[in-house]
């Protein structure tokens, strides 16, 4: 299996009025082509930033300090805005965002917005483009496509909008889709519907998906591998089975034990003491050590290196 995306030692910071935010600090992430790779972590840990780096849509105040983001071997960090626009966005990597309510332009019809994407493929003929749009909308299981085309975003429900987004992003036939918390804003019943659409794509296409979420339960449904992110670093990467059955990093364990199950009682649920550190002055050494029960003195001094503790099972913890 070929790796489609390899992120190596990515360090990235933001200049803000309060100071420099060290958003990503040595991120390593490998994504296999055709796999669904989950990226999980608490709000503000740098998941979305990682996604936006791959598609070149970081805000202007972002500063990349070191590292490589290799997409099919090419370092995206060396790409100009124009190269991103011409060679990557839409064509190779597409992205779906968290809030479907604000992801579609309110003043254009669904048809116009879908066609805009499809037309970028340089296939001429208006009729074939419209046919492609309809096929895409069918693919994401949207009902009554004919009347849907003439509608405007405000006339659609959140779940429908999110499926339109997927269809629109697939319109250019990208190899990779970054889904940034796509179900967070949806009702639970609609979430399942949306995940079924993704599952279907997984079974019928060779699409690679980087699925960003803070909800571990969602990942179990669709992902092959999971990377756990904490305060700007990836602390553990493993197959979905290993994450649940053999979690290695203390943070991953806490995360797994905090999932609600049908048989869990409030007492059996674990919570993680403390909160995510502010990244303006992050803790030295392992960033998790102030909240970690297994922490020793060394943890506050040494940044834990990434170790391979099993087949495709990576962890960054001094105690392993």
């Amino acid at each position: 299996m070929a790796k489609i995306l390899e992120i190596r030692d990515l360090k990235l910071s933001f200049e803000t009025e309060e100071g420099t935010v060290e958003a990503l600090d040595g991120v390593y992430l490998d994504v296999e082509e055709g796999h669904f790779h989950g990226l999980i972590g608490e709000t503000g840990c740098g998941k979305s930033i990682t996604g936006l780096t791959v598609i070149g849509l970081l805000d202007n105040n972002a500063r990349i300090e070191r590292g490589e983001v290799l997409f099919r071997g090419k370092d995206l960090l060396k790409f100009t805005e124009r190269q991103f626009q011409r060679e990557i966005r839409g064509k190779e990597v597409a992205m779906v965002f968290q809030d479907p309510a604000s992801s579609l332009d309110p003043v254009f019809s669904i048809k116009d917005q879908m066609l805009e994407a499809v037309r970028l493929n340089k296939k001429e003929e208006k009729q074939s483009n419209e046919r492609i749009v309809k096929e895409l909308l069918n693919k994401v299981k949207l009902p009554d496509v004919e009347s849907l085309l003439e509608k405007y975003p405000h006339q659609l429900s959140g779940g429908m909008k999110q499926r339109v987004m997927i269809a629109m992003m697939l319109g250019r036939n990208p190899s990779m889709l970054i889904a940034d918390e796509p179900t967070t804003a949806l009702d639970v019943s609609i979430q399942a519907q949306f995940l079924r659409v993704l599952m279907d794509l997984k079974n019928t296409t060779n699409l690679t998906v980087l699925y960003i979420t803070h909800n571990l339960a969602v990942l179990t449904e669709i992902c092959d591998e999971v990377s756990v992110m904490y305060a700007g670093r990836i602390v553990e990467t493993a197959s979905i089975g290993d994450v649940f059955n053999n979690p290695s990093h203390p943070y991953t364990r806490k995360l797994v034990n905090s999932i609600l199950r049908a048989d869990s009682t409030l007492d059996s649920l674990e919570e993680i003491p403390g909160s995510v550190p502010r990244l303006i002055n992050p803790p030295p050494g392992c960033r998790f050590h102030p909240r970690c029960e297994e922490a020793v003195d060394e943890c506050s001094r040494v940044i834990p290196p990434v170790k391979e503790i099993g087949t495709n099972h990576l962890v960054a913890c001094l105690r392993r």
């Binding site: 626009q85 966005r89 604000s102």
Partner: protein, 311 residues
């Protein structure tokens, strides 16, 4: 849905008519709100008793006030706005002679202010916190701080008197339009550039802008097609609400530049107590504002599908 839409427009038009009625009432009452005998106000204190009586007869001043309004307003609908006391000619004719220059002036001023204001607003937003942005802010504050009559005099002095590029006032071809239009237009440009910048920044921060970029759309298309169209929607109201100031500005500027339009005519008619003329021009200006607001609402529903489909 169509029924609801129709009822919205019926309500909107009824509201416009009510406003128009109120406006006509104010224009009519101007003459009567001034203390004293309207006939004496119009003719001054030294006319003959026969002349006063003729005026009273001509404008039905001996009738009760509501009846006087009916006479006046039915005249307006028949195109009879009374006669100018100064020129002894129908007001409508006098207005017809002068409305062209005023519309030319206001049109050019609006053109300058809207195109320049929107352009600078966009550029300032795209290049935010750069010297270009600071320059846009600086020039906006600069034009807003100068009263139009003073700016007009300055322009006349520099470009008319010293450099002799343009005629010193009057209406002599296209060149004499440039500086009166700039005097009004630059100030209103400043008025539009700031909110346009704010709107653009707000829109550029929206997820859908990120999403159209993620599709791989060119930056210029992202700005012109998606960001601009969304940012322009609130600007329609801004522009419509600004219209009374454009008109007010043109009154002052017409006087400064000896521009033979309705503005300077209004001022000279007020000074000459030519009330039929004053009433007519006030009514015309007010109607222009009322209609502009209605048009703005109409435009809204054309541009913004959220209003088109629901209201």
């Amino acid at each position: 849905m169509a029924g609801r839409k129709r009822s919205f427009w019926i309500r909107r038009i009824v509201r416009t008519l009510v406003t128009a009625f109120g406006v006509s009432l104010v224009a009519f009452l101007i003459l009567h709100l001034t203390p004293g005998d309207p006939a004496k106000i119009m003719l001054g204190p030294y006319a003959s008793e026969a002349a006063y009586e003729a005026i009273r007869e001509r404008y039905h001043l001996n009738e009760p006030l509501p009846l006087q309004y009916l006479y006046w307003i039915s005249g307006v609908f028949r195109g009879d706005l009374g006669d100018s006391i100064r020129y002894n000619r129908p007001v409508l004719e006098l207005i017809k002679d002068r409305i062209g220059p005023t519309l030319a002036l206001m049109g050019s001023a609006l053109f300058i202010s809207i195109t320049l204001g929107i352009f600078l607003g966009i550029v300032a937003a795209i290049k935010r916190n750069t010297p270009i942005d600071y320059f846009a802010t600086f020039q906006a504050v600069f034009w807003l701080s100068i009263p139009p009559f003073w700016l007009g005099i300055l322009f006349l002095y520099i470009f008319g008197l010293q450099l002799r590029w343009v005629p010193i006032g009057g209406m002599v071809g296209f060149t004499s339009l440039i500086f009166p239009a700039l005097t009004i237009g630059l100030r209103d440009e400043a008025w539009f550039a700031r909110p346009m910048r704010a709107e653009m920044l707000e829109v550029l921060n929206q997820d859908y802008i990120k999403a159209v970029k993620a599709k791989g759309l060119k930056y210029s298309s992202v700005i012109v097609k998606h960001a601009l169209r969304n940012a322009l929607i609130p600007m329609i109201t801004m522009i419509a609400l600004r219209l009374p100031w454009v008109i007010g500005g043109s009154v002052v500027v017409e006087v400064v530049f000896s521009w033979g339009g309705l503005g300077s005519f209004l001022v000279s008619s007020v000074l000459a107590r030519d009330y039929p003329v004053v009433q007519a021009i006030l009514l015309l200006i007010a109607m222009l504002v009322v209609v502009a607001n209605l048009v703005a609402d109409l435009l809204y529903s054309v541009i913004d599908p959220r209003i088109r489909k629901e209201s």
